[in-house]
């Protein structure tokens, strides 16, 4: 599990790779979002293209990140869902909660 933060205009992009699973990956997502918010980020785009596995704890962290960003008046959106991550968001019906984009340019533009 690895998370890299970069800035595209006003949007903070977090590139997540590996497993978002209990005990490691879920905590890493929480920390990365908190660090970004602490650094003044308002709108966050999670790029999940490199995610191989997401368990229920990982999904829970995505939800927590979504609500903590929203509470600060920003938005958290998702881009690049691998098929298995997409399947999980469908099964859990969280696909109805998150705004999901296929490509980064459209996702970044959508924040404006």
């Amino acid at each position: 599990m690895n998370i890299r933060q970069r800035q595209v205009g006003d949007v903070t992009v977090l590139d997540v790779t590996g497993k978002i699973t209990i005990g490691v990956g879920d905590v890493a997502i929480r920390d990365a979002v908190q660090v970004a918010l602490g650094g003044g980020a308002r709108d966050i785009l999670l790029n999940l293209q490199g995610v191989t596995t997401i368990d229920s704890a990982g999904v829970g962290e995505l939800v927590s990140a979504y609500t903590s960003v929203a509470h600060r008046g920003g938005k958290l959106k998702l881009v690049g869902l691998p098929p298995k991550v997409n399947d999980i968001l469908q099964i859990t019906q969280l696909i109805t909660v998150f705004e999901v984009y296929d490509d980064e340019a459209s996702a970044v533009a959508s924040f404006k």
């Binding site: 368990d55 229920s56 829970g60 962290e61 609500t67 298995k84 099964i91 859990t92 019906q93 109805t96």
Partner: protein, 153 residues
């Protein structure tokens, strides 16, 4: 229910990093059953959830308590039993994670994951404590695991 001899038996300390160990063993066994990558992934994920619940809720993340995992293969199905040393619970009291009021809750999706990914999920509670969850999934390859030459990818 089948009573095939276990293909694999593991006992691990209640640490989250041991979930990786269990998943690796289960997925390797499924590979020898010639299951496709998707089936291996979803069964492996369901087993992860069962072990995570056993560690966290059953054993309270106490590493001195063990989680036992047994994998059985019988006619056209794989069955994985996960046991903890906890006090048990009533699965009927677990909230529906798809209910609109629960959709944004961070937790409470573990059992739902298992039920969604497997054909059957059954809880058994021992008289002297301990919870066993048995996950069952029909598979296309109805044979016992092949030889080790099949394990390479």
């Amino acid at each position: 229910m089948p009573v095939a001899e276990p293909e694999a038996y593991l006992a691990v300390a209640s640490r989250f990093e041991n979930i990786e160990l269990v998943q690796a063993v289960v997925e390797d066994l499924l590979r020898r059953l010639e299951l496709g990558e998707d089936d291996r992934h979803w069964i492996g994920l369901a087993v992860r959830e069962a072990v995570a619940n056993a560690i966290k809720h059953g054993n309270g993340s106490d590493p001195s308590k063990q989680v036992e995992v047994e994998v059985r293969v019988d006619d056209g199905a794989v069955e994985v039993a996960v046991r903890d040393e906890g006090q048990g619970f009533d699965p009927a009291t677990v909230a529906d994670p798809l209910a609109p009021e629960n959709l944004l809750r961070p937790g409470g999706r573990g059992i739902f994951y298992m039920r969604s990914l497997m054909d059957n999920v059954e809880y058994r509670f021992g008289a002297g404590g301990g919870t066993e969850v048995v996950l069952r999934k029909r598979i296309k390859a109805a044979s016992a695991p092949r030889g080790e030459e099949e394990t390479r990818t």
